[in-house]
């Protein structure tokens, strides 16, 4: 897409798409998913996968420059990786095994072939890491860089839906919460976040194996934390027809997030884009969960419980209700900060 190679400023979609498909094939071959057999590779009208003996999970998600990210926040490779993970995380939340991913890319005028190549490489690596194959894509021009990923998975055992939670169940989250929002807060304020905080926004890890294990162990429900704990818990409670009580002091936090939250912020409660998973589990599963957390190398923390009614309540260390400053993360709010 170098304008130097095209003095009229017109791009030949064909030539570029052909190259894109060729590179997708290369990446596809590299990331040839151990979870799936690809019968027809990228470059034909469709990719074709071997039949699935298990139910098929499907999800799509988009990252738009200026709305979800700025190009200065991460490298193209990290962006491609993240574009895959935001969809793969939805598969994790259903306890599905990822098999394939398609990436539709809208490129802005200034996007170079090197950038696109790095995006594809990052995307393919994220697929490879979870056993999925990058099997297809699309390329078009757009005003700003836009990445729309569609992830395909198989539900090989129990499926974790949002609607399975019952009063009395425990609320359990993977990893730590709030770092992603803290990183964005830093960038928007003109500060580069600490590496440990930055990496939580830049390179979230889809909790595929942990979710599968918890589903098999008997967890009742799950949702991935993209909008923020409080917002996503609200979605889950509505789907399950229950209420919930969250103990703010039990939220798993990095030191950086804990310090800001102690000073009045609520990153762990309302910050979005952590891409951890909120599990709902019967209380008797607690010992087994501790074992699975160790086995998978991912912390699991009980943060509250499901109750009757439909209210989601947050309580502080003294048991008093805590009212967070905002109701949840909103991608659209980032718009106010757009550089253009």
């Amino acid at each position: 897409l170098d304008s130097s190679s095209n003095p009229r400023g017109e791009l030949r979609e064909h030539a570029f798409l052909g190259d894109f498909c060729r590179r997708l094939r290369q990446r596809g071959a590299r990331s040839a998913g151990r979870n799936v057999r690809v019968l027809v590779e990228p470059g034909d009208d469709c990719a074709v996968l071997a039949p699935s003996a298990s139910p098929i999970a499907l999800t799509t998600d988009a990252l738009v420059e200026g709305v979800h990210f700025r190009s200065t926040w991460l490298t193209p490779g990290e962006l491609g990786r993240r574009a895959a993970v935001v969809s793969l995380s939805d598969l994790a939340a259903m306890a599905a095994t990822p098999t394939a991913l398609l990436l539709a890319v809208g490129v802005a005028d200034e996007t170079t072939t090197e950038t696109l190549d790095a995006i594809l490489a990052g995307c393919a690596e994220a697929c490879e890491a979870v056993g999925a194959a990058l099997v297809g894509g699309n390329l078009t021009r757009a005003d700003v860089l836009t990445l729309t990923s569609t992830a395909v998975g198989e539900v090989r055992g129990r499926c974790l839906e949002r609607s399975g939670a019952r009063a009395g169940d425990l609320l359990v989250v993977s990893g730590t919460l709030g770092d992603a929002a803290l990183a964005v807060d830093g960038w928007l304020a003109g500060r580069e976040p600490e590496q440990s905080v930055r990496s939580r926004w830049v390179a979230p890890i889809p909790r595929i194996d942990l979710s599968r294990a918890l589903a098999e162990a008997g967890a009742h429900a799950a949702i991935d934390l993209s909008d923020g704990l409080l917002a996503d818990l609200g979605h889950l409670c509505r789907a399950s027809g229950i209420g919930a009580v969250v103990e703010r002091e039990r939220l798993p936090r990095s030191d950086a997030v804990a310090a800001r939250d102690a000073a009045g912020a609520d990153f762990a409660l309302v910050g979005g884009e952590d891409y951890e998973v909120l599990f709902v589990s019967p209380p008797e599963l607690e010992p087994e969960m501790a074992r699975l957390a160790r086995e998978n190398g991912v912390p699991l923390t009980v943060i509250g419980r499901c109750v009757g009614g439909d209210a989601v309540t947050v309580v502080d260390s003294r048991g008093s209700p805590h009212v967070p400053p905002t109701a949840g993360h909103d991608h659209f709010a980032g718009r106010k900060e757009r550089p253009r």
Copy 2:
């Protein structure tokens, strides 16, 4: 998305997404695909389909305002329909049976909920027409209206790949060619195209049943005509390692296209976005193809043949080589005409 309902101009993605999912569920129920059983409906982290005993075809495609369409060219309902068809047509070209579709929507500031609702309705109708279910989606803000559809299908019999053509095979196209490009030519020149021409761009029909029938009858290869006959034939020839000769006078054309082509245009040869299918078939299949064309109510026209080598040649009625004005349709070229 009415700004009147939101005086600060900030949109709550949650509320809107919740509503979007609710409407997807409504549409999903209406278009509940006869070709598939949906186990988990839109609104959870993923949609879940019943297992597939057949290979699974996957494809994704995007329509970007100002690049692929202008909002003045078609209604939101027609746009939603078209967003589905551009992906469904790729399934047709593989002889796959559509089962499900996901629609990721990027909305511009001025997009109203009524517009979005009409887009979803049109998309669901296009799915319903071919037995697929609209099972999921995503909503984000974007600079311009952007629709990315991912179509899922099952290859229940023979699969038509691009690579199956052999020297001696016939080139056969469905429907007529060039009307879609003629419609766009009209709009770009400030003329509203005739209804019969307009409808070919606005409401292309994915040739699902016809392709299935031709695959079962023994066709060797196929590709959908999105970039224009000459460009897509080039893709097919490269994939198959063959050359081709096209007889320009045999191209199936409406009277409107024939008149313009006679005056020096080459809409049927290089105009894109017809979403017809180019089939490659052994010569002995010609009588059977005539029967299948009648049965499916879609014309099939032999336009040339596959030859050795790697050259794609167009000949006129006297057998002399014809050199078209451009090598193929280029979505990106539309960019020059952008209203902003």
